[in-house]
Amino acid sequence: MIEVKDVYFTYPTEVEALKGVSLSIRNGEFVAIMGQNGAGKTTLVKQFNGLLKPTKGEVLVDSVSTRDLSIAQLARKVGFVFQNPDHQLFSETVEEEIAFALRNFGFKEATLKRRVTWALNLLGLTEYRKTSPFMLSGGERKRVALASVLAWNPKVVILDEPTIGQDHRQKEILRQFIVQLNTQGKTVVIVTHDVEFVAECSPRVVLMAQGQIVADGDAQRILTDPNVTLRASIVPPQVTQIFLKLADFGLPADVIDVSEAMKVLVEYFEEEKGKR
């Protein structure tokens, strides 16, 4: 679906943000792009919808080079939910806000109405249809921003740091929602530095550091590899840290969430009991 071919990117300020990045994202995948602030994660995903075009190398979306398409054309296929919903919200009602992109993309009025209702329903915003987005709470505004992107049903959804400022419960709801989106066939890409969140979702992880990809694979494998996490300067999940400290007891070191940890420890204790 998305192919990144040896991409280099330098900002006008002469900062080289991407240094030879190659990546393939298949249809329906769930990918987490991780790394420290400044590693190049956002620069990379902005290549997917054409906001940025590579200085060297190529990015193909659905087999067409991003250089050959306008941002609007790419946006139709690749939806991007920005970190701060307040950078998008401007309409008088939530309804209008969600309809904005649909109008830009030339949806017919009847389809538009249906899509708006569907998006409102999906994100639990039906009661706010006629409310001004500025009257809503932070979490609700995030949902409006998300609804306004999902409304046009892009094949790929990119979420830039979706967990910032969210409390535990909101993150849980978000996690379930993202997983659901993915199950329904959408390609989901999240850019995040929230390791615990990723550990719960367990997607494919692409780890970046200083403009390059340092690791690409299963969350479980990558987040538990101390060399890799050190290189990318990310902190492993707390459970992983515990198990890494206990490596000398022969406990498996590839645990990233509490359920896994439970299983492993319970097994270990049963074994020990059995031995006695």
Partner: protein, 281 residues
């Protein structure tokens, strides 16, 4: 000795239909490291703003109940008086820095107070050293990373040498490593300088190991208030949906399964240490 005392504090923002904090009664001792947490909208940010007088002096609205901070009845003293005893560091680092160089920003509070130049110089140097940002002295705030900006913001408040420092989700915009650094700086202020620290946070896995007093709020009320181990391990904390540290969660699950373990860890170090003891036998 109690440095902050609130009794039945209730506050409603102007134009709001219901109060943001209700009947909050809380005592904070001098030198404590307090963590206040709770789901979004629970009133923790509002409570912070009461401590230095932004509520009721900046925000108007209705404040009921008693509030004494560092011996002052907050209602009776303007914010600039409170500012010398209580410092407040906010969530967004960018919007706390006004000057064109770090040094000038750190001096801002002191300039406002009319501190003589020599004394100001000394305090600015001291604040920069304590927060480990001496090399950033001449830099413009816009050139700095979020973590650096936040350390500058801390230095700005520290320069006024308050007895209490309140941090309202200071690491929201930072990555985990940046967050860790900030918590370490805050901890130093508490342990080495004796500053009473109040930290509002969601990221309990990184911050809880520093606290000796935890307060959980929900829907404007203080629901739990006590020592970290009691609070994080309580059923109520889980029900409210607070993001308790994973180590704690693990311990709870093992307990439920019938495996009783010693201790109440909240950090990976503690958990590993305790597990090590058990596994050795």
């Amino acid at each position: 000795m109690a440095i902050i005392e609130t009794k039945n504090l209730t506050y409603t923002y102007p134009g709001a239909t219901k109060p943001s904090i209700r009947d909050a009664s809380l005592t904070i001792e001098k030198g404590e490291f307090v963590i206040i947490t709770g789901p979004s909208g629970c009133g923790k940010t509002t409570l912070c703003r009461c401590f230095n007088g932004l509520i009721p002096h900046f925000y108007a609205g209705q404040l009921e109940g008693e509030l004494t901070v560092a011996g002052f009845k907050v209602v009776e003293h303007p914010i600039y008086e409170m500012a010398q005893r209580v410092g407040l560091v906010f969530q967004n680092p960018e919007n706390q820095l006004f000057a064109l160089s770090v040094e000038k920003d750190v001096a801002f509070g002191l300039e406002n107070l009319g501190v003589p130049r020599d004394e100001m110089r000394k305090r600015v140097d001291w604040a920069l050293q304590t927060t480990d940002i001496e090399e950033l002295r001449e830099r413009a705030p816009h050139e700095l990373s979020g973590g650096q900006q936040q350390r500058v913001a801390i230095a700005c408040v520290l320069a006024m040498q308050p007895d209490i420092m309140v941090f309202d989700e200071p690491t929201s915009f930072l990555d985990p490593l940046g967050a860790q650094k900030i918590f370490e700086v805050i901890n130093e202020l508490n342990k080495k300088l004796g500053v009473t620290v109040i930290l509002v946070e969601h990221r309990l896995d990184l911050a809880s190991k520093y606290a000796d007093h935890v307060v959980i709020m929900d829907d404007g009320k203080i629901v739990l208030n006590g020592k970290p181990r009691e609070i994080f391990y309580s059923e109520t904390a889980r029900l409210i949906g607070v993001g308790i540290p994973k180590a704690t969660h693990l311990w709870q699950r093992l307990q439920e399964h019938g495996i009783k373990l010693e201790g109440f860890p909240t950090s990976s170090e503690e958990a590993a240490r305790l597990l090590r003891e058990v596994l050795k036998t």
